[in-house]
C-alpha cells in the first residue's frame, strides 16, 4: 500500500501493532504523536497538525476496521485518507488557451517557474508566452529572457518601463498570438501594503484564469500568513512548490492549500527549465511523513 515505506519512528510505532486487530487508546496516542512529529518536522502549520491528528485519533478509535484488516493497516488507511482529503488532487490545468499569473515571496522561484511552466505547456503542444512584469529586481528582465530562450518560448518584457501594470497590458497585446500567457510578477510579502496593492492592480488588468502562489519547499510557519494575504488580494487557485530537490519537506504548501482552499499544481525540482513536474498526492504525502 501507498504508505508502506514509512519513516523509521512512525514505522516503529506501527510495527508494535502487528498482529493486533483492535487498537486501544495508548496505541493510538503513540501513533498520533509520531504523525504529529513527522508533520511538524515537515513545516505543516502547528494548529493544522493538531486538527489533523485529532481527527485521525477520533476515527482510529471509533471506526471499526473492516473485516480482515489489521489494526496497523486500518490506521494507515485513516492517515492517508485524512491527508488526501486535505491535499486533494493536482490543480486542474486544462490544455487550452488561458492566462496564469504567478505570485509569491521574494526569491521563492517565480521567474524560474514561469519559464518552466511555459516549457511544460509547449511540450503539451500549446504556444506559451511569458510576460515579465518585475520592474524592481535588478536583472529580472535578463533573467526571464534568458530562461525563456532556454525553454524556447516567447517572451515579453520592457527594461525601459517602470510600470508593471503597463508592461502587463502591453505584454498581453504583444503576445496575442500565444495561447497560454504566463505572467511573472516581482517578489513581495504579506506585510508590504504598497506591493500588495500593486499586484491587485496587475491582476485587474491581466484578469488571469488562475493565480498561482509560488512557495519555497523550505518555508516555515509563515506560509499561513503569506497564503492568507495573497488569497485575500488576488485569490489563489493553485500552489507551486519549488526547490523540492533539496531536503525540505514542503509542508508549508499543505498549509497554503488549506488556507486558500486550493490545490497544488506543479513541483519545482531543479534550476533548469525541464525540472518541473505535475503534482501527485502520493509522493507528496510520503515526503511529508518522512519516507
Amino acid at each position: 500500500m501507498v504508505l508502506d515505506n514509512l519513516g523509521s519512528s512512525l514505522r516503529g510505532s506501527l510495527d508494535k501493532l502487528r498482529g493486533k486487530s483492535r487498537l486501544d487508546e495508548d496505541d493510538v496516542q503513540e501513533i498520533v504523536k509520531e504523525i504529529q512529529r513527522s508533520l511538524l518536522s515537515a513545516d505543516v502549520d502547528v494548529s493544522l497538525v493538531m486538527d489533523l491528528s485529532d481527527s485521525i485519533k477520533t476515527r482510529a478509535l471509533e471506526e471499526e476496521p473492516p473485516g480482515g484488516t489489521s489494526a496497523r493497516d486500518h490506521v494507515l488507511k485513516i492517515v492517508y485518507e485524512e491527508l488526501v482529503g486535505l491535499i486533494g488532487e493536482s490543480t486542474e490545468i486544462p490544455l487550452e488557451s488561458q492566462t496564469i499569473m504567478l505570485a509569491g515571496l521574494q526569491g521563492s522561484g517565480k521567474t524560474t517557474t514561469s519559464a518552466k511552466m511555459a516549457w511544460w505547456f509547449s511540450k503539451k503542444g500549446l504556444r506559451p508566452a511569458v510576460i515579465q512584469t518585475d520592474t524592481f529586481r535588478p536583472g529580472a528582465y535578463d533573467q526571464a529572457k534568458q530562461m525563456c530562450e532556454r525553454a524556447e518560448v516567447d517572451f515579453y518584457g520592457d527594461p525601459d518601463c517602470d510600470d508593471p501594470v503597463q508592461i502587463a497590458r502591453d505584454g498581453l497585446e504583444a503576445t496575442a498570438d500565444a495561447e497560454v500567457h504566463i505572467v511573472d510578477t516581482a517578489g513581495r510579502h504579506a506585510l508590504e501594503d504598497d506591493l500588495i496593492d500593486e499586484i491587485e492592480e496587475i491582476e485587474s488588468v491581466v484578469q488571469p484564469d488562475l493565480n498561482m502562489l509560488v512557495l519555497d519547499a523550505a518555508i516555515g510557519q509563515g506560509a499561513k500568513e503569506q497564503a492568507q494575504q495573497f488569497d485575500e488580494s488576488i485569490g489563489i487557485g493553485g500552489v507551486v512548490i519549488t526547490k523540492l530537490d533539496g531536503t525540505a519537506k514542503g509542508g508549508g504548501a499543505l498549509t497554503a492549500v488549506n488556507e486558500t482552499d486550493s490545490s497544488i499544481g506543479f513541483l519545482g525540482m531543479g534550476e533548469t527549465v525541464q525540472d518541473i513536474e505535475r503534482f501527485e498526492p502520493n509522493g507528496f504525502i510520503s515526503r511529508l511523513l518522512g519516507m
Partner: protein
Amino acid sequence: VIEEEDLEDPLWELEMALLQSDVEMQVAEEILDTIRGKLIGETRKQVQSTGQLVSEALHDALYEVISVGQFDFDQRIAEADKPVTLIFTGINGVGKTTTIAKLARYFEKQGYSTVLANGDTYRAGANEQIREHADALDKKLIAHEQGGDPAAVIYDAVEYAEAHDIDIVLGDTAGRLHTSNDLMAQLEKIDRVVGPDLTIFVDEAVAGQDAVERARQFNDAAAIDGAILTKADADSNGGAAISIAYVTGKPILFLGVGQGYDHIERFDPEAMVERLLGDEE
C-alpha cells in the same frame, strides 16, 4: 520542589511555541531538555509560579544559543589585513547578492572601499543583476562569462583589490542546494582556492525546519564564520536564527530587513530572544 510532572504541560506548550516560531524540532527538544535538567529539584519561591520559572529558564537558554560566538564584526574588519575577502554562501534565492550590495553600502559608510566579484557564473541574469547593483552603488565589479570558473572570478577580484588598494572583496556565489554533490564540491573548491578571511552563510528568516540541515551541510563544505538572516521584514518568527546558531556554533551577524540598500541591521541577540518570546504570550 519542582518535580518532573510539574514541567510536563508547560514544557509541551513551550515546545509547540518554539515550533510555531520555526525553531527546528530537535533543537527545540534539546533546549527544553536543558531547561528540564535545570529546573527539576529546584525549589520554587513562594512568589514564583512554575510557569514563571520555566519562562525565565527559556529566556536564558535561548539567549545562550542565539548569542553564541558573537564577535565585534566592525572591529574584526578594522583589524584584518587588507584586502579582506568575504565569501557569501547559501541556497538559492535567499538573498546573497542583495546582501552583498547592502554590505558594499554599509562598508562605504565606514570609509572602506570594496570590489564585488560575481562567483555566480551559472544562473540566468546573475551577471546583469550584480552589475546593476555595482553600477547603482558605484562599485567595481569583477565578472566572467557565464559558465566560467567561480573560484577564478573571486581570485581575480582579490588580485584586483591588491593591485588597487581596495579594502574589501565581496565574493558572491551561485545559489545551490546542499543535496547537489557537484555544486557542494565546487563550493569547497572556491573555499580552498580563494581562502577567504570570512565565509558568511546567508539564509532567510522565513525558513522552517530545513534551516538546520542546510546550515550544517554548508558549514561542512566551507566552514562558516557567521551568518546573515534575510527577509526578517517578512517574518515575525525568526526561529531559523536559533536553529542556525545552534548547529553551527557561529554567530548571526546581520539581519536583512527589506530590499533597499540600507535594509540591513546588526543582529541583536537579546532583541531576537524578546521577539521569540513575545510571540508565544
